[in-house]
Amino acid sequence: MKIIVLVKEVPDTYGDRKLNLETGLADREASEAVIDEISERSLELALSFADANAGTEVAVLTLASEGATATIRKALAMGAGSAIHVSDEALRGADLGLTAETLAAAIRRVGFDLVITGNVSTDGSGGMIPAMLAELLDVPHATGLSSVTISDGAVSGSRPVESGVQQVSANLPAVLSITEALPGARFPNFKGIMAAKKRPLEVLSLSDLGITADNPEAARSIMLTVAEKPPRAAGVKIIDEGDAGDRLADFLVENRLA
């Protein structure tokens, strides 16, 4: 079985995250770049399956700027057998549509039985890519699973929804997206770090994939303006002079919090 895991490089979730106000994009200099935790969980799912099923091929696919090599090597050190790095200046600030189109083209080029991805990234938080990929690849999509069983020709699992838990399954090939309920990743061990240096890492540009970033026919979302979140204003202090309860209630009503 061939599994492709989508791995996204994001600004450290625990560090300061900033927008570059000129470009409107995340300021990747502001904090350390790391593998998105949900991507690590996706990779762990693929690797545990590969551990138990000889002959499983796990490839990671990353769409990121040139500097993301260390992140990709880490995924290889964890145990992925190969990596595809799609990198192209024209992808800077790519919207969800272009991102999905590019990823789908890379996935099709490599070939797959199963694509595993996180349900939503910690930086962009679009949450649309898995569904878009399934549509573009014309395969079923098992979304937002909190537990997963992969078997020879199918994938199944449970999806928590507001009113309960749904049991879902899909025949392969398919796209599967997971939630943070899945186990965290293994640590890359020293043997893995050494082995990672020798594992194939293919770098592809948009022209390799036959995609035009500024295709006038394609619908694209364009960011027109960007503003930083305003600094937090000073709070309202209520000093109890016997009427604090009333004033608190008034405050909540005024701010539509009651």
């Binding site: 450290d12 350390e32 965290g184 640590f187 890359p188 020293f190 770090i193």
Partner: protein, 394 residues
């Protein structure tokens, strides 16, 4: 999972730029391991005097046990990579770095350097995975800095062909009570020799030394050897004289020069973070000149000490490292680390005496670190002898 953001303020000189991407990957992997597996529990292990035995297989699967050795399941990493791993581990706790040193630098190195092929095959792979634990018994109740005064004696056993009978006592032996094998050094009629004593051998008893005010997340033991009968296969064939155990000690001392800087860095980072949050007289402690001087002095020594350790590592990888250079690293870096940990505690005020903060725990641990593998005094005399050509040990 993320990498601790601390290095941006503690790595003023950009020492990271002196490391290869492979070295950084090893460092980051250990740093994440410490963050996930050690930090959340270390205060409780320390308070309850627990050595987390279950961590050994996890350390083994990462490749940390005997990581600088070749073959037999060991990770064959460079000296610099081993040093970086020690630094990150000791930023977690000296007790856990000590376990890795005892297992890898002392016990496994002794077997790897001086053992027979059969001894290597039967012990090293299990020790590399952390399934088996080893200890290294050199120090005695009355022979610390002067191991040549050891009284433990191995008598060739007339009843047992070419076997041996060991009698004596050892003290301050890390992990002995849970070890599967002890490397025991003993005097013989033919000078000091090393022996592999499997756990459970009749006459071998290891008792943890308690209570301790330092290294509480680690185990140190008294060992008694009471007519311990061993077959000829237990002798380490290639070690003769104190040169054998001393070469293992040099391995451990090398790791300590790095490790101490980890404890220092963690203490500094705790103090920096606290001083930025703690308000007194209406402004953060970090805004006071006296605090800034403390923080600056800490960073200066951490950077110098790390650079020193890195130079030792580069020389070790090149095969040119001299024993007096290791003494320089061990003496300087542990001495500075304990001063930094104590200074960091002062910034934390009263809160610094609780286990909620690491500096006092590090300072207490470093009391052991500055004592074992050669005290400040011993390393000073080694360096004094090197400078003057005059041995002042006696």
């Amino acid at each position: 999972m993320s990498v601790a953001a601390g290095t941006n303020t503690s790595d003023l000189l950009d020492l990271d730029a002196l490391l290869s991407s492979g070295e950084l990957a090893v460092r980051n992997s250990v740093r994440e391991f410490v963050k996930d597996k050690i930090r959340p529990s270390i205060a409780h292990w320390y308070e309850d005097a627990v050595f987390p035995r279950e961590l050994a297989p996890a350390l083994g699967s990462l490749g940390l046990l005997g990581m600088h050795l070749d073959g037999y399941g060991c990770a064959s990493r460079s000296a610099v990579e081993y040093g970086l791993a020690c630094l990150e581990l000791e930023a977690g706790d000296s007790g856990l770095r000590t376990f890795v040193s005892v297992q890898g630098s002392l016990a496994m190195t002794a077997i790897h350097s001086f053992g027979s092929e059969e001894q290597k095959r039967s012990w090293l792979p299990g020790m590399a995975t952390g399934e088996l634990i080893g200890c290294f018994a050199l120090t005695e109740p009355t022979a610390g800095s002067d191991p040549s005064a050891m009284t433990t004696f191995a008598q060739a056993d007339g009843h047992n062909g070419s076997g041996w009978v060991l009698n004596g006592a050892k003290r301050w032996i890390g992990l002995a009570s849970i070890a599967d094998v002890a490397v025991v050094w003993a005097a013989t009629n033919d000078g000091v020799r090393g022996f592999l004593v499997p756990a459970g051998t009749e006459g071998f008893t290891a008792t943890p030394i308690e209570p301790k005010l330092s290294m509480r997340a680690s185990i140190q033991c008294d060992i008694t050897l009471d007519n311990v009968r061993l077959g000829p296969e237990s002798l380490l064939p290639a070690a003769r004289g104190l040169r054998g155990p001393f070469s293992c000690l040099n391995e451990a001392r090398y790791g300590i020069a790095w490790g101490a800087m980890g404890a220092a860095r963690d203490s500094y980072e705790a103090a920096l973070a606290y001083s930025l949050e703690r308000l007194q007289f209406g402004k953060p402690l970090a805004g006071y000149q006296l605090t800034q001087e403390k923080l600056v002095n800490m960073v200066l020594e951490i950077q110098k000490g790390t650079l020193l350790a890195l130079q030792l590592g580069r020389r070790k990888d090149a095969g040119t490292l001299r024993p007096e250079q290791i003494s320089m690293g061990k003496l300087n870096n542990v001495r500075e680390a304990i001063a930094i940990a104590r200074e960091a505690r002062t910034i934390l005020g009263g809160n610094g005496i609780t286990l909620d903060y690491s500096p006092l725990r590090h300072a207490n641990n470093l009391e052991s670190v500055r004592t074992y593998e050669g005290t400040d005094e011993v390393h000073t005399l080694i360096l004094g002898q090197h400078l003057t050509g005059i041995a002042a040990f006696r």
